[in-house]
């Protein structure tokens, strides 16, 4: 039984690592700051949460496992806020959207 839980934990860690890799790939390939933030926020939040959850399955509800749960909650609450603040700050300081963008309502409304 313990072995099965360990294997599931390792599967979660592998999935998390894969998503983290895609997040980094997005950071390199996408054209402007907003698109990069999208890849960074989404993939890295879920990737890291998945790694922490896998760790929780492996170590169980010990001191480290409980801290993993807390980290998941705080990561889910704070990482989108950080992305929001970065995107807003970038737009306010005049970073333009990339060439292929089709619309910018925020610019049109005079912000």
């Amino acid at each position: 039984m313990i072995n099965v839980i360990h294997i599931i934990g390792f599967i979660f860690i592998s999935i998390g690592l894969a998503f983290d890799v895609f997040g980094c790939l997005g950071l390199l390939r996408l054209p402007d700051v907003y698109n990069r933030l999208q890849a960074a926020t989404k993939c890295i939040t879920l990737g890291t949460c998945s790694i922490l959850f896998g760790m929780l399955l492996i170590v169980g509800f010990t001191a480290a496992g409980i801290k993993a749960i807390l980290c998941i909650i705080f990561l889910l609450l704070t990482s989108p806020v950080a992305a929001h603040a970065l995107a807003r700050a970038a737009h306010k300081s005049g970073v333009k959207l990339c060439e292929s963008s089709v619309i910018d309502k925020y610019e049109e409304d005079g912000n």
Binding site: F22, R29, T41, T62, L70, L76, L97, S101, I103, K105
Partner: protein, 164 residues
């Protein structure tokens, strides 16, 4: 005062979890730390403490969690697909989304949910007019109404029941 009590309990629980397995020395220190935190920042934490008594809000919140996790998974697969695709199929832009939520917590949760769901990132909130500016990696609808239906509606209908 009620807001301080709620923050005290939350801070104490977080402290106890951080010091797992709790023994009485840690818990005594935790009471003092939680009291200090509650005293310093308690009045900013909750504006409407009476909402904490409504049981159905917690049930809606439980209903919201699986939907949120499912959307987040879809978001990740979507981003992974776009990033790994050789021709990088993106069509980015910033659109406007109308929201009827008014409370701080509700707006925060809506903006966070938008950020973590497929292809969208909230950039700014205009509280007076009730608009959220959303960066969309694959713009399907430039219109305010259409964008609202595609991006915000599925969360808003639940979040209204939790936070308003």
């Amino acid at each position: 005062m009620k807001s301080r009590m709620i923050l005290f309990v939350l801070a104490f629980v977080v402290w106890a979890l951080l010091n797992w397995i709790p023994d009485w020395q840690h818990l005594v220190v935790g009471v003092f730390v939680a009291a200090l935190v509650a005293y310093l920042t308690g009045d900013m934490f909750v504006q409407r403490p009476h909402l904490f008594k409504h049981v159905e809000r917690y049930l809606w919140f439980l209903y919201y969690i699986p939907i949120f996790i499912w959307e987040m998974l879809k978001a990740n697969i979507d981003v992974a697909y776009r990033v790994a695709h050789p021709s990088l199929p993106i069509k980015p832009g910033i659109v406007k989304v109308k929201t009827s939520l008014k409370s701080d917590t509700g707006l925060t949760f809506l903006a966070n949910s938008i950020t973590l769901t497929p292809g969208t990132l909230s950039v700014d909130i205009d509280r007076e007019k009730g608009y959220i500016y959303v960066h969309w990696i694959d713009v399907k609808d430039k219109d305010v109404k259409g964008a609202t239906e595609r991006i915000a509606y599925r969360f808003e209908r639940i979040l209204t029941r939790i936070f308003e």
